[in-house]
C-alpha cells in the first residue's frame, strides 16, 4: 500500500528502537487537510463544470481515505492481511450497491 514500509524488516523482538515518531502522522494530517481544502475549493469556486467537479471530489475522497487508512489505522503495518481483505470485500459490496442505486433507482 505504501513504499515506506519500515516495519516489514523488523522482527518481533528487535523493534524497540523502531518506535514511531509523530512526523508521519502529521504528514498524513497535512495531506488530508490539503485534499479536503482542494475539494471544498473546487465546489466554492463554482466555475468548473459539474462532471469534472464530481471527478475531483470523488478522487480527493478516495485518496484521503487511502492515506488515513494506511497511516492512522495502521493498515500498512504487517499483520493486516485480513483487515485489508475484510475492508476490500466490504468496499466491493458497497460498490455494487452504489452502482445499483445510481443506475437503476435514481437514473
Amino acid at each position: 500500500m505504501s513504499s515506506n514500509h519500515d516495519h516489514a524488516a523488523s522482527g518481533e523482538a528487535t523493534k524497540r528502537h523502531k518506535v514511531e515518531g509523530p512526523q508521519k502522522h502529521i504528514v498524513g494530517f497535512v495531506m488530508s487537510l490539503a485534499l479536503t481544502i482542494i475539494a471544498f475549493a473546487a465546489v466554492s469556486a463554482g466555475e468548473i463544470n459539474a462532471t469534472f467537479t464530481y471527478i475531483i471530489l470523488v478522487s480527493m475522497a478516495v485518496i484521503q481515505v487511502f492515506i488515513q487508512m494506511a497511516f492512522w489505522m495502521h493498515m500498512k503495518d504487517r499483520g493486516h492481511l485480513f483487515p485489508i481483505i475484510g475492508i476490500l470485500a466490504g468496499v466491493f459490496v458497497v460498490f455494487t450497491m452504489v452502482v445499483m442505486a445510481l443506475y437503476w433507482v435514481w437514473w
Binding site: K15, V19, H25, V43, L57, W72, I87, G90, V94
Partner: protein, 206 residues
C-alpha cells in the same frame, strides 16, 4: 524518533497485541468494520437513489452551508490526528500523554456533535424535517447514523479513559485504547465520504 522515558520494562512495545485475546479482539473489530462499511454503504446507496426527490422541501443547494460543514470536517479530522497521537503515546507507554490526547479527542468529538445538532435544528427551521421528503429522510438517516456513531465513540472513549485511570496501562486496557482509536478513525473516514457525497456534491448539483 521522540524520546520515550516512560517505558516501564513490563509492557511490550505494542501492548495492545500482547495476548491472543487482544489479537482476537483487534481482528474481530476489523471484521466488524467491514460490516460497518457495508452498513454505511447501504445508507449511502439509499441516499444517492433518493437525493433529488425533495418534494416540497428545500434543495440541497439552498440548504447546505459550506463554512459550517468545513468547520465540522476540520474538527473531526483533527480529532482523528489526536487519537492517533494517543495510540503513539500508548506505544511509548506514556500514560499521561495518552490520556491527554484522548481527552482532546473527546472534546473535539463533542464539538462536532454540537455543530451537527445546531445544523439539524437549523435545517428543520428551513422546512427540511425528517418526514418532509425521501431526500430529507435518507439525509437524516445517513448523517444521523454517523452522528450516533460519533456519540457512541465519545462515550466509549470516556469509559476507556476512566478505566486507564483506575487500572493503569496494562495488556488488558491497551487493546481498548487501540480499538477505540481504530473506531474513531473509521468514523472520520466515513465522514470524508459524507462531506464529499452529501454536502459538496449536493452543492454542485444545485
Amino acid at each position: 524518533m521522540s524520546a520515550h522515558d516512560h517505558v516501564d520494562g513490563q509492557l511490550p512495545h505494542e501492548p495492545e497485541k500482547a495476548t491472543l485475546e487482544a489479537r482476537n479482539k483487534i481482528l474481530g473489530f476489523w471484521i466488524f468494520l467491514g460490516a460497518e462499511t457495508v452498513l454505511f454503504g447501504t445508507l449511502f446507496s439509499a441516499f444517492l437513489a433518493l437525493r433529488h426527490n425533495i418534494g416540497d422541501g428545500p434543495t440541497a443547494n439552498e440548504l447546505f452551508q459550506l463554512p459550517l460543514v468545513f468547520a465540522a470536517t476540520m474538527i473531526l479530522l483533527t480529532s482523528s490526528l489526536t487519537s492517533v497521537f494517543a495510540v503513539q503515546a500508548l506505544h511509548h507507554h506514556n500514560k499521561r500523554a495518552m490520556i491527554g490526547w484522548l481527552v482532546v479527542t473527546i472534546v473535539l468529538g463533542l464539538g462536532f456533535l454540537g455543530l451537527e445538532i445546531y445544523e439539524f435544528i437549523h435545517y428543520v427551521h428551513e422546512g427540511h424535517g425528517f418526514t418532509t421528503s425521501a431526500f430529507s429522510s435518507s439525509f437524516y438517516t445517513l448523517v444521523g447514523f454517523h452522528g450516533a456513531h460519533v456519540a457512541f465513540g465519545v462515550v466509549w472513549i470516556a469509559i476507556v479513559i476512566g478505566q486507564i485511570f483506575k487500572k493503569g496501562l496494562t495488556v488488558v486496557t491497551a487493546p481498548k485504547v487501540y480499538i477505540s482509536a481504530i473506531y474513531w478513525h473509521f468514523i472520520d473516514v466515513v465522514w470524508v465520504f459524507i462531506f464529499t457525497v452529501v454536502y459538496l456534491m449536493g452543492k454542485v448539483a444545485g
